[in-house]
């Protein structure tokens, strides 16, 4: 038997059905749709440590009100999702998405031995490391490195920003950062730049110089591809005029124009609310919700919502008790939001945070964030998560 046949038969035999993760199948056994070139992941980073307990409010739990006398969201203001939890009123725009079954909330996502430094914890979330481990590559970067069938292009991962986050940097491959495809296109089409990358391939085998030239050539071809593909699409959905919404609008343009990019990365800053939290966080949550609302409906209108999964995370949640300045200090586990047209478990995914059972005043995590990543890698990006996360993580069933 040829190796190819053996692999195919083994995969089917092992699973007994057709539901086999794509990474277990040989390339030849996959139909084009199965390769799902057009399935997208959009990662939304809330920087500064968003207060999860005032985002998804445990209004059914008295402890919440006892510990947050100055900043708790009143029960009659909460947008109730079930008997225990509801959304901050500034997230009103999300209710519509929730009712459509396009939204899930995962409670208490974190990791063992949590770190309360913004920098370190963000590092851990972006590299998917253990708390006492330092990695110089990000989880999406290592997904690019894994060289799977669906992540081979230099534009496989795009961050809508000027500079590239560690999450997007692999060892041999990296995502591409751009705020405006037209500007990048102009830069890579300047005569001097074109002159430098044309012909003359002698540099390409030299170690670091070759790497620089390769990066320039890939940037240039990506810029051409992104600009030429995305300029055809005429956006027809109105977004609020905020920096965050503009990022999502750009992502939508890329997705709707059929760009073969798999991962998009955007972020919203300012969640470090130590002082007078209510208004600050409220303002940010509103921007977040309005942006997401427009983005999800835009994708739905363009029949792209089924092929898109949006996840939102922050480097940590905040302490359960408020501080003396009507703010909150750095904490641990936090909720994550998921949006998409094909969520398997819509609504609230798991039990609400247990406020009676804390670790030194902090929430205990129920779900390791790498199980969330692992699920996405396995079931959405079609790559064995052990290859990216350095060890195998259990998968969840939200997709």
């Amino acid at each position: 038997m040829e190796r190819r046949d053996f692999l195919r038969n083994a995969a089917f035999a092992a699973a007994g059905t057709l539901i086999v993760p794509a990474f277990m199948k040989p390339f030849e056994a996959l139909a084009l749709e199965e390769l799902s070139l057009y399935k997208n992941l959009v990662v939304v980073q809330l920087s500064g440590g968003n207060d999860g307990l005032n985002t998804v409010v445990p209004f059914g739990n008295d402890i919440y009100y006892q510990m947050r006398k100055g900043i708790a969201v009143k029960p009659d203001e909460v947008i109730k999702l079930n008997d225990m939890q509801g959304l901050n009123p500034n997230l009103n725009c999300l209710r519509e998405l929730y009712d459509q079954g396009w939204m899930s909330v995962i409670n208490d996502v974190g990791y063992p031995n949590p770190d309360r430094s913004h920098f370190r914890s963000m590092d851990i979330w972006q590299t998917a490391s253990d708390a006492n481990q330092y990695l110089s590559t990000g989880w999406i970067g290592r997904y690019l490195d894994s060289n799977c069938q669906t992540c081979k292009f230099p534009y496989t991962a795009i961050e809508v920003d000027d500079s590239l986050s560690l999450a997007m940097k692999g060892k041999s491959k990296k995502g591409i950062a751009l705020k405006d495809p037209a500007a990048l296109y102009r830069n890579t089409n300047e005569p001097f730049f074109r002159e430098m990358i044309k012909s003359d391939k002698d540099h390409l085998d030299e170690e670091n110089l070759g790497y620089l030239y390769k990066t320039m050539i890939e940037t240039s071809s990506s810029a051409d591809y992104i600009q030429n593909t995305s300029k055809i699409y005429q956006p027809n959905y109105t977004y609020p005029n905020t920096g965050f919404s503009n990022q999502l609008k750009t992502v939508s343009r890329f997705i709707c124009s059929g760009l073969k990019t798999r991962v998009y990365y955007v972020s919203l800053s300012g969640f470090d609310t130590h002082v007078n939290q209510v208004n600050q966080q409220g303002r940010l949550l509103q921007q977040y919700a309005e942006g997401i609302n427009a983005f999800v409906k835009d994708l739905h209108q363009n029949n792209k919502l089924d092929d898109t999964l949006v996840i939102t995370f922050s480097e940590f949640g905040r302490r359960v008790a408020q501080n003396a300045s009507n703010g909150t200090d750095h904490g641990t586990a936090n909720n994550m939001f998921l949006f998409g047209g094909r969520l398997k478990k819509q609504g609230i995914y798991n039990a609400a945070p247990d406020l009676a059972n804390l670790d030194n005043g902090d929430l205990k995590y129920q779900i390791d964030f790498r199980e969330v990543y692992g699920t996405i890698l396995d079931k959405w990006l079609d790559v064995n998560n052990a290859q990216v996360l350095n060890k195998r993580f259990n998968t969840l069933d939200f997709i």
Partner: protein, 475 residues
Amino acid sequence: MDRKDNFANIKHLYNRAGFGIAYPDLLQLSKRRLSKAVDKLLDIPHQGPDLLTVSADEFKQQQLVLAGLNGKKDLSPEEKQQREDITKARNEKSRDLNLDWVQRMIATQNPLLEKMTLFWHGHFACRANNPFYSQQLNNIQRNNALGNFKTLLMEVSKSPAMLDYLNNQQNKKGHPNENFSRELMELFTLGRGNYTETDIKEAARSFTGWAYNKNGDFEFNPKVHDEKAKTFFGQTGTFDGEAIIDLILQKPETANFICRKIYIFFVNDTPDETHVKELAAHFYEQKYDISALMKRLFNADWFYGKENTGNKIKSPVEFLVNLSREFYVTYNKPQILIQLQTSLGQYLFNPPNVAGWPGGKSWIDSSSLMLRLKIPSLVLNDGILDFNGKADPEEEAVIALNKKQKPRPVKSYVNAQADWSKFLSCFPKDMKQTELASFLLEPTLGKKVSDIIISNVNLKNTAIAVTSMPEYQLC
């Protein structure tokens, strides 16, 4: 070795050991033997001058006020304002400190001292929220940059910045905090695989009581020190912190670990094990004398080998300092140097974590490379920078207080001047464009590079074109 080799070798030496060399200096030095140039680099005061951006008086004054405020339960609006003002003043000083150091690197007559300080800055990577502590640590790193590694290690370990960063203030008898102990062995001395988890636990007990006082001085607190016996590297004794550091230094693995990092920083991203061993043996034999190590390194034949020249990617700070020195650049609005550091991914005093900046290829991705290629024309031609780095996570609280979340204006004038007449006066009148290019670039000129520069009308345009090439990213 003929004259031409000497010219290239000294240029290489100054690129790696410093931040480049001016053409007249290079001509002058290349008349002498290479070892003389090495001696000249090393024959400098091995200390200071200290950076004095934050005065001790200012720091003590702030500490007093803060101590008063922290003791109170409810603060009046004036007192809250007072506290905010101090935070604001400190943030400003942190930026000033960063700029003072970068400007020092651009102007220094002792490039090796600052280059070594930069190396130790990345090796003993630390973030302190108090600029006075950052300054202290930086001065320790400079004063011992070419001194003895043991003294350096000891002083760094006792600095408030590091005690704070690695939680040794919380390391107490009965409740050890292992953070410092772990990083000391994993990142500062031995490297993974050369110690056990037990060693970490036991050493942590030895460092209990290492703390600092309100004046920012190291203070040993015997009350919280665990005096009982510890078993470390298989030996049992009532080791204190100093004894643990001594035991760590007795292991040749420490010399090996440091030399490997030195090799990666100064020679090649991919270490040659034979060369590393050679350096480590010498370093150990010379009782961790850093100056002796560097002398050996810069006098080694292989340091000037083809495989070790023109192939290292400059770090963002090396790139910026190199460019600024080369063209005698004055920054009328020095803050642009901070924006450039953050955009390019090396914001001094703010390393990504205690492991420092990973370096090498990780400096380069499509956006950082595009920006690097653009910077020379911006700085040398006074252009507009339409590029913003990411917000530092520590600045999130400030962003949180800022009401406006409309798209930020992202354009800023670089507002810098190169001293072109000084730059051009360095060269002989009949200097050819290709000669200038080979002087400015470390990699050998390919045909394409020559073709591009030959079409430039004068030396100034040639210089801008050459520094905008990927070849200029290497040294």
